[in-house]
């Protein structure tokens, strides 16, 4: 007899479970978490703190805040950041001062740990929201973050 009662109980609990699924079947769009991703690119907004890639913001006069102190390069666990620097004459004081030539960022090696941005004394780098990084050639993932011809914002000291 337990054979038939097992079948009965099995179907009964299946139907109990299907009450839950049936409820969601009827109210399917309410509370749906699926995002129609490639179609919603225009409206898709990531959270402010989302860690997509490291960027270096520049102002209207093509000035950045990086003094070339290399603290981010030391903090990075993977050798993602590579700063090529030089010494130039400071116009105000006339003394020799360190300045960056190229701020090279290897996105392909980055683990998005955020230690570089955490350690930066002048807030020169920050997180960008872009996360679409598929490229045909991995060399495209190596970027120079400072724009050509850019220079240090006056008044930024580390």
């Amino acid at each position: 007899m337990s054979y038939f009662s097992d079948i009965y109980n099995g179907i009964k609990t299946l139907l109990t479970g299907m009450r839950v699924t049936g409820k969601y079947f009827l109210t399917s769009r309410k509370g749906a978490i699926t995002q129609q991703y490639p179609d919603n690119r225009e409206t898709l907004k990531m959270f402010d703190r989302f860690r997509g890639e490291v960027i270096m913001p520049h102002d209207e006069e093509n000035q950045h805040r990086c003094t070339g102190c290399q603290k981010c390069e030391i903090a990075c666990p993977n050798g993602t950041i590579e700063i090529i620097w030089d010494r130039g004459i400071d116009e105000e004081t006339g003394k020799k001062k360190k300045k960056i030539d190229q701020f090279v960022y290897h996105l392909s090696m980055c683990t998005m740990c955020g230690l570089c941005i955490d350690v930066c004394p002048t807030d020169a780098i920050e997180w960008g929201q872009n996360f679409e990084n598929s490229v045909y050639d991995r060399a495209a993932l190596t970027r120079v973050l400072n724009e050509p011809g850019s220079k240090l914002m006056p008044g930024v000291e580390d």
Binding site: D6, G10, R49, F50
Partner: protein, 373 residues
């Protein structure tokens, strides 16, 4: 090869098959070498090392701030708790006084991580025994926690939110509201988990009485977490060695005595309720204050050995550091729960069917990067 004759016409013969490394039920790249006789399992030999990344060796070259982000990649489903373990070890060695605010936030985020990990496990557990719906429902509720994490920590899985000395940045203004929303939402969903899967007779028949682990075996195999607690071995690190803000909350340790697959399942379901209650107790009064204590840019631990253990979603994670006073550890050892829990798989799976092995493995809740490191 050993041969036994059943009758004159049919021969029964032992043979070996590989389960994994690309088998969906192994939840990652784990290769199980099964010796089977028909459908009966005679021996299970786990073959490890497919994603060994030598994290412990990499720690020997990294600074203590850099070690934290590597632990995200061990047990990726409880990454915040792993981060906390390393930070607690460093803070213990430096004898840093951590602000109350940090302790409370760490505990809240740790318990949310545990719920999120168990949600994923519940979905995958159902899928392993043939119920696909649970997968979607588990991930739906997990998504809310992922959003909370993304808003506050900046990432959904590999958060790296803890730093030695506190938290990388303060919680997001929306954090408290979102967590409260989640608690209210999840309290209505957890009973549905029971209706859908726990009370299902077919599910119970598949899980009750298989993969039995006795209390003595659990202790001698070094099992921890829900696996050991389902065998009646009370071993919750949160209870016996409370860290962060766990000393000021009241919660019941989820304990079962049956030791079978269903008991391990029930323990995890109950743990989700307990974690919800911990978060509920703390979320209303997060103390004001600093979110970070200033540490030296180069952290040098004093000479000596330091050990700290925490309870991740899978069991006891221990961090053992030997320092010679330099900026990186001389040796760093992670005692990962997954490795010990995997070691008892052969013991409990022998004599069962292959289908039972899948259900048993699902309740061990293996995360392979945690085993291989």
């Amino acid at each position: 090869m050993e041969t036994t004759t059943v009758n004159s016409n049919f021969k029964s013969e032992k043979y070996q098959i590989n389960m994994g490394p690309q088998h969906p039920a192994t939840h990652g790249v784990l290769n199980l070498l099964l010796t089977i006789d028909g459908e009966i399992i005679k021996k299970v030999e786990p073959d490890l090392g497919y994603i060994h990344r030598s994290i412990e060796k990499m720690c020997e070259r990294d600074s203590y701030q850099q070690i934290v982000h590597l632990t995200d990649r061990m047990d990726y489903l409880s990454s915040n708790i792993n981060n906390e373990a390393v930070c607690l070890t460093v803070e213990k060695a430096l004898q840093l006084a951590i602000p109350e605010r940090v302790k409370v936030i760490r505990t809240i985020i740790g318990e949310l991580t545990r719920i999120s990990s168990h949600c994923l496990w519940w979905g995958v557990m159902g899928m392993d025994v043939g119920a696909l719906t649970t997968y979607f429902y588990g991930f739906r509720d997990r998504e809310m926690i992922n959003d909370i994490m993304e808003e506050t920590c900046g990432a959904r899985l590999t958060m790296n939110y803890n730093v030695p000395g506190g938290l990388m940045f303060d919680i997001h203004p929306n954090f408290v509201k979102r967590v409260k929303d989640f608690i209210a939402h999840f309290k209505t969903k957890l009973p549905e988990f029971d209706t859908l899967l726990t009370e299902n007779i077919i599910f119970q028949k598949r899980t009750k009485g298989i993969g039995i682990l006795t209390r003595e075996d659990a202790i001698s195999f070094g099992a921890s977490g829900p696996v050991a607690r389902a065998s009646g071995y009370s071993c919750d690190v949160r209870k016996y060695h409370p860290y962060s803000a766990l000393d000021r909350v009241t919660f019941k340790e989820a304990l079962r005595t049956e030791g079978d697959t269903f008991a391990r399942y029930s323990v995890r379901i109950q743990e989700m309720w307990e974690s919800l209650s911990i978060v509920e107790q703390l979320i209303d009064n997060i103390p004001e204050g600093e979110h970070r204590v200033k540490t030296n840019a180069v952290i040098k631990l004093p000479k000596g050995e330091f050990y700290q253990k925490v309870e991740t979603a899978r069991g006891e994670l221990g961090v053992y550091v030997i320092s010679t006073g330099t900026k990186s550890p001389y040796r760093l050892k992670f005692r990962s729960p997954g490795f010990s829990n995997l070691s008892l798989l052969n013991h409990i799976a022998v004599g069962g069917k292959i289908g039972d092995l899948v259900a048993t493995m699902a309740t061990l809740d293996l995360v392979i990067p945690d085993i291989d490191r």
